[in-house]
């Protein structure tokens, strides 16, 4: 086994690329499964070798892309602790939160292999399998969740690891896409109920996902 440190390769960038790609797919799928948007704007696609639903609405797609584009530098520097997709009712109270807790191991272990890319092909294949399981879990999570009230919207909250990283300049990489500190009412729930959905641990990434509901 070959052990590489963060400095040997651009470790953060690899993780950020993989994770942002996954988060994009996950956000589209959550919006479809939880019926935040009309099903007519979604099209079936294939990702991680499983069918997923992706929006074909340019404005929504741009919004998700801009959001993740800003989150990516935080993930690269291991500053993002949680990425939360919050579904809110008409009054902007959160009714569901899909929490993605991210952590990166300090060491990257790549198993030696005879493949064309050395160990990295096995590593990426393993990560893809784990992410596929996550996506499948999202696809079926509506079975354990109640229907959302009509007129819901969503937002993405990012919990950073350190107050020092709360420097907005780091996040505001897109000029016309400013970030602000969330209101307490967008974060706090009256009687939250936690449903752990899936955990994955790979050589490069640890991801934990749960749904928090505001009602039982």
């Amino acid at each position: 086994m070959t052990t590489l440190t963060r400095q040997d390769i651009n470790f953060g960038q690899v993780v950020a690329d993989i994770l942002c790609e996954f988060l994009e797919v996950a956000i589209h799928l959550i919006l479809y499964v939880r019926e935040v948007y009309p099903s007519g704007i979604f099209q079936k696609r294939k990702k991680y070798n499983v069918p997923v639903q992706m929006s074909c609405h340019p404005e929504l797609n741009q919004y998700i892309q801009d959001t993740l584009h800003c989150v990516k530098p935080l993930i690269e520097k291991n500053d993002a602790e949680k990425v939360v997709v919050v579904i809110m009712d008409k009054e902007h109270h959160p009714v569901e939160r899909f929490v993605f807790e991210i952590s990166q191991p300090p060491l990257l272990s790549i198993r030696e292999s005879k493949g064309p890319l050395g160990g990295s092909d096995i590593l990426l294949s393993h990560v893809e399998q784990l992410l596929r399981a996550f996506i499948l879990k999202i696809s079926v999570c509506d079975a354990i969740l109640n229907n959302n009230p009509p007129g819901c919207s969503f937002t993405v909250l990012v919990h950073t690891r350190d107050v020092a990283t709360r420097n907005m300049e780091k996040v505001q990489v897109i000029k016309d896409f400013p970030w602000i500190v969330a209101d307490e009412q967008e974060v706090n729930m009256q009687e939250p109920k936690l449903i752990p959905l899936k955990t994955m641990t790979s050589d490069i990434l640890k991801l934990w996902r749960a749904v928090i509901l505001d009602r039982i």
Partner: protein
């Protein structure tokens, strides 16, 4: 650590070295891992609040008609018409949107229904020759470009509204169109085999003047009428 005595059977004396190594490995202290710092899952009073985009997510609703968007973009699914509500408020309270706002917005994207007058009419020999020169498949998407110079005294916006009416009435088979504000052009996409017919219809329905040009991705301008 105290001394450890290793008792070896006489028959295993030849493997003494490997046994010693195994013993040393077994006697190594267990690796200690510092447990991660406990953090409550739910946000406590002293924890900082997370950050979020100031801009709210777009609101898209079902509507019986074409979708309307505030100068950004719009799309339409053939089976489900959808509508984008204005999202320009930076403080993000989309619940304050009103249906009346939609009257002031501009459409910039449209798709024709597949039904309608889509009878197969062979293109002229001249046009067929153009298609064959460029080896275009009959279902290749091609694009008519309407510029301000084709609109005469009318503005491009007025021509665009006329085009939307035609598209809504299914007079433009296989078409989707796009108002390019930045380029001051209207792009009308259609199948190559229908392009000549669509071009004639565009000129007639929209009362265009001058020549409109037909472009194909990667090839550029290939035909004009």
């Amino acid at each position: 650590m105290e001394d450890v005595v290793l008792h070896v059977r006489p028959s295993a004396c030849e493997q003494l070295e490997s046994l010693l190594q195994s013993t040393e490995r077994l006697l190594k202290p267990f690796p200690l891992r510092a447990p991660p710092l406990f953090k409550p899952w739910f946000i406590a009073a002293n924890q900082p609040l997370p950050i979020r985009p100031a801009k709210p997510a777009p609101i898209i609703k079902h509507t019986p008609h074409w979708l309307v968007s505030e100068g950004v973009a719009q799309t339409k699914n053939q089976s489900n018409d959808v509508q984008t509500a204005p999202t320009s408020r930076a403080d993000g309270n989309p619940s304050l949107r009103s249906e009346a706002d939609h009257s002031a917005v501009t459409r910039c994207w449209s798709v024709s229904r597949t039904r309608g007058d889509a009878a197969h009419v062979l293109p002229s020999k001249c046009f067929q020759r153009s298609l064959s020169i460029h080896r275009l498949h009959p279902l290749q998407r091609v694009m008519w470009v309407i510029g301000q110079h084709n609109c005469g005294t009318r503005t491009l916006e007025q021509v665009w509204r006329s085009l939307l009416r035609s598209v809504r009435a299914s007079k433009m088979p296989t078409c989707n169109s796009n108002l390019q504000h930045g380029r001051a052009e209207i792009w009308v996409f259609c199948d190559a085999t229908q392009a000549e017919r669509v071009g004639h219809r565009l000129k007639k329905e929209l009362q265009l003047i001058g020549r409109i040009s037909l472009s194909v991705r990667r090839l550029g301008h290939i035909f004009s009428m």
